[in-house]
């Protein structure tokens, strides 16, 4: 089964203790499935159910289906400026 890299930033990286995880990319897997997987990991339960998710640096919906080779990122609320 192909896997897909998920980047974690800021508070989400602190919650999971890592800035990058590889998750299995099952057939028809959606962004919502990946988030559910992350929330089942130790420390992941504090991640919101519908976080801001970018695929290849573009915001996507929970129903979006990442493809092999894509870069997924979970972004906490922006706090720049």
């Amino acid at each position: 089964m192909p896997s897909i890299p998920v980047l974690l930033f800021a508070r989400y990286a602190d919650l999971l203790g890592t800035s990058r995880v590889e998750l299995p990319l099952t057939d028809g897997c959606t962004v919502a499935d990946l988030v559910r997987h992350l929330r089942s990991l130790p420390g992941g339960e504090a991640i919101p159910e519908r976080p801001f998710v970018a695929v290849n640096m573009v915001q996507v919906d929970a129903s979006h289906r990442p493809q092999p080779g894509d870069e997924v990122a979970l972004l906490p609320p922006m706090a720049g400026g």
């Binding site: 980047l7 930033f9 800021a10 508070r11 602190d14 919650l15 420390g43 504090a46 970018a54 640096m57 990122a73 972004l75 906490p76 609320p77 922006m78 706090a79 720049g80 400026g81």
Partner: protein, 150 residues
Amino acid sequence: MTILTRDAIDPGALIAAVSAPERGGIACFVGAVRDHHEGRGVVGLEYSAYDAMADAVAAAILAEAESRWPVAVALRHRLGPVPIGEAAVVVAAAGGHRDEAFAACRYVIEEVKRRVPIWKRERYVDGSEAWVDPTAAGGLHPVRDDGTVS
């Protein structure tokens, strides 16, 4: 070209970068690190980013501003630890007249805060730390003494 830097930002350099003989009005905004937040004394903070996406989103925001108004705009955001009082972000917008310069400058700083993936971890006078979250109640997610996050 990156908008991100780990060095001090010079507002004068950004103003100079957008200036030109046909542009008579330049508006500039400097967001500096304050010594307080939500009523707590701040002694230090650190910015981090999703670098590649921050640059892509910032480039889109600058292009939007330059298509909406007849202006040239420049943007710089600092990463890593930033001392109190120093600039975290600087925007400069230059146009033929001040209306468009002010409008474009304001647009860019609002959109940067809303859309650019940059995060801020603050350290307080009592030794505690927190991630700043404008969408959370209280605006902060405290970091525990053992480094874990709530």
